[in-house]
């Protein structure tokens, strides 16, 4: 897999072709050649492979139809550092038995019955040198989730990659707009 993607494939890929996912870049930043191999692998992955979720969770049904707020499943997005991935018990509240006919929901019900935690693939992982807390942005600055995570509410299938590529430039633009601190050591640790 040649490390440089051809321009044609780049056009097909909505997300910026050249920005490897945050995780890969952070790994490369923080540790030597082994990390550079990771960068290459992630670079390749960024172009083709998708994040595979164990269950094709349908956001639209939950958010739009059933009007469930983001923070019910992402519990600590209001007062914590990370938004938090829903635990099995959160799903169990409604999925003791199947509510609909979809095969994906059957998987959830089986998992709840077996008490087996669902291991969701992580889409967003900030580099270790970034200080970011959800509570500061969601609660204090009252920023809508869509701003950074794109319109997840209307996704019927789990997106393969971040809908909105998180990059430092995006953060700085927002900070400039809202007059938030642009000191390097406000976010770098």
């Amino acid at each position: 897999m040649s490390p440089r993607p051809t321009a044609r494939r780049a056009a097909a890929n909505r997300r910026h072709p050249f920005a490897p996912s945050a995780a890969a870049r952070s790994a490369a930043e923080s540790r030597g050649p082994r990390a550079r191999a990771l960068l290459l692998a992630a670079f390749a992955a960024a172009c083709t492979a998708e994040a595979r979720q164990p269950i094709a969770y349908n956001h639209r049904v939950h958010v739009k139809d059933l009007e469930i707020g983001c923070e019910t499943c992402h519990a600590t997005s209001r007062n914590g550092e990370v938004a938090g991935i829903p635990t099995l018990s959160t799903c169990a509240d409604c999925h003791q038995q199947a509510n609909g006919t979809s095969s994906e929901e059957k998987k959830v019900v089986e998992a709840v019955a077996a008490g087996r935690d669902i291991t969701w693939a992580r889409l967003y992982e900030l580099p270790s040198h970034v200080f970011f807390t959800h509570r500061r942005h969601v609660t204090v600055a009252a920023i809508a989730c869509e701003r950074c995570h794109g319109d997840m509410g209307s996704q019927t299938r789990p997106p393969p990659r971040q809908l909105v590529a998180l990059s430092m430039d995006r953060c700085l633009e927002c900070h400039r707009e809202r007059g938030a601190s642009q000191d390097c050591d406000a976010c770098h640790r």
Binding site: E29, S30, R31, G32, A35, N79, P127, S128, H129, F131, T133, R135, R136, T139, V140, S181, D183, C184, D185, A186, H188, R189
Partner: protein, 235 residues
């Protein structure tokens, strides 16, 4: 370039050498707090041990008239820092807190700032940081592990300021006194190291700055250091 945007408090430190017993709890607390890789015998022999807060020994005279003074030396976080002027990529900057920060993902490791600093407070990661066995379990989640090839230095534990300010913002209040304290000031058994806002006349550190015993290291260089020492002895 070095005029200070007056927004946040002007963080500074006072070290009373009359109370200090040179036990080096400050340098160990700093190394544990900031995930500094533990030095090895080889690194120490090659003078590559990283000690953000180091003990500087002044030895004068011959036996029996010998005078030994031991002085804990963090980064001075100067108000007119010679290191920031020379960084070619803006990897070391001074924000509104007056803290000279080191941005590890941007540093290209040219080490120009290490030669420009008259206090030699800057250290370099010569090797990939390593923690033998499972010593790596004891790493502080609030501080990033610096990769090989970048410069690092005392940051006045500004990750604690980030967390304190985040908490204060979440509780919709100003940053209280004493909420943000450095690891060395917290660990010092004799309370010789005091940290706080130099511009707040009522703070302990400001009071110590007004002591007749107060002096600054290499004051004549015009770097305006924000670490103030108090001489030992009478007065």
């Amino acid at each position: 370039m070095n005029e200070r945007p007056k927004a946040g408090p002007r963080w500074g430190m006072a070290i009373d050498l009359d109370r200090c017993t040179a036990c080096q709890a400050c340098s160990t607390a700093c190394q544990m707090e900031n995930n500094i890789p533990p030095p090895t015998p080889e690194a120490a022999a090659q003078r590559r041990a990283i000690r953000w807060m180091d003990l500087v020994p002044y030895l004068e005279g011959e036996f029996p008239r010998v005078k030994l003074r031991l002085l804990p030396r963090p980064c001075m976080h100067c108000d007119n820092p010679p290191c920031i002027k020379v960084c070619p990529v803006g990897a070391t900057v001074k924000g509104q807190d007056g803290i000279v920060a080191q941005v590890y993902p941007r540093c290209i490791g040219c080490r120009y700032c290490t030669t420009a600093c008259p206090y030699t407070v800057r250290y370099f990661n010569w090797y990939e940081p390593s923690w033998p066995g499972d010593l790596g379990q004891a790493l502080n989640p609030d501080v990033s592990v610096r990769p090989k090839g970048v410069v690092e230095k005392c940051t006045f534990c500004h990750h604690r300021l980030q967390k304190a300010r985040d908490l204060a913002a979440a509780e919709k209040r100003e940053l209280g006194p004493g909420e943000y304290n450095t690891a060395c000031a917290e660990a010092c058994p004799t309370q010789a190291i005091v940290f706080g806002d130099l511009d707040d006349p009522h703070s302990e550190v400001a009071r110590m700055t007004r002591s007749p015993r107060a002096f600054r290291l290499l004051e004549d260089l015009g770097t305006e250091p924000k670490v103030i020492y108090l001489r030992e002895g009478e007065a």
